[in-house]
Amino acid sequence: PLPPKTSLSREEILRYSRQLVLPELGVRGQLRLAASSVLVVGCGGLGCPLAQYLAAAGVGRLGLVDHDVVELSNLHRQVLHGEGRAGQAKAHSAAAALGRLNSAVQCVPYAEALTPATALDLVRRYDVVADCSDNVPTRYLVSDACVLAGRPLVSASALRLEGQLTVYHYEDGPCYRCVFPTPPPAETVTNCADGGVLGVVPGVLGCLQALEVLKIAAGLGPSYSGSLLLFDALTGQFRRIQLRGRRSDCVVCGDHPTVTHLQDYEAFCGSSATDKCRSLQLL
């Protein structure tokens, strides 16, 4: 976490004037944003628009985690990376693009996979975590690390023409394990490489995810703790559904947790966090 910030410079007042004038945010909210740090797990289809709007809004520090390199087939949805970045680490490419947009934001690239050995330490260094990852083991890893470190987690996902968004472990809300105590059978999980995704669908979800992060960081509170937003891009329909609350018998956030250290999530899920060749199934 960053030290508190007590005043805005003349340049900051000018730069953020259009949001400072909002009574819901104001100078107080802007100071909170500037003193806040966000860990972005995944600099792909969700992470690109999310990081873009967090940097634009003046969040103090952004940690950018991605072990992957930019490929041509990413560019239909991963809009921070340009053609000239092909072959570079996504974390570095994203940091460079964000620096052009707002040089005052500290961008810290981590060009490596998030692992059980590193995740807890990393999550502890940030105030809010955005799960923009693309696989099941990482989603359990990020959630467990957020519970153990006591950090709120804003989670989004997108596939084909659909997207989902929710907030985990915010105040008394559920964590990922409360809602999904058991991982799905590996053969039922479809990734974007196999199932495809229309690029603007993670665009919509990444922006909504950024909005939830900004509201948490500015002290306004999120809208989707304990509920799930479903988006169907073909019909343009949004639907909000009510999730369960925190489970007192949850193995990680419950009253008597048995998961007190990070585990081997690839073994737990029966699939790899980095392998691109997962099997294609209907759902």
């Binding site: 996902s157 659909e162 999980v189």
Partner: protein, 102 residues
């Protein structure tokens, strides 16, 4: 003996819908039976009547497989008794498969 029940069984597009023969929302009439209709019975009925192929992508044991959320009238079934929830006329049951892509 409990009377006939009308319910809506829905799988969201791209997910469970595909298992339900490509139809997003089924209006389902459940026949009279001795015991009240609960979600446990409904899953058996769905397996027999709606799942055209690969039921293992939807059912595991006597419940839905991990990764599928069940919503009864747009709220998590965990709030309503899960398998033991007794269906009411015109209930809507929605099956959502979690997405993991980013």
């Amino acid at each position: 003996l409990s009377g006939k029940l009308c319910c809506w069984v829905e799988g969201e597009r791209g997910g469970a819908e595909l298992l339900f023969d490509g139809v997003k929302k089924h209006q389902v009439t459940l026949p009279s039976q001795d015991e009240p209709w609960d979600v446990r019975n409904l899953l058996i009925w769905i397996r027999k009547n709606l799942l055209k192929e690969r039921p293992e992508l939807f059912i595991q044991g006597d419940s839905v497989r991990p990764g599928i959320l069940v919503l009864i009238n747009d709220a998590d079934w965990e709030l309503q008794g899960e398998l033991d929830y007794q269906l009411q006329d015109q209930d809507s049951i929605l099956f959502i498969s979690t997405l993991h892509g980013g």
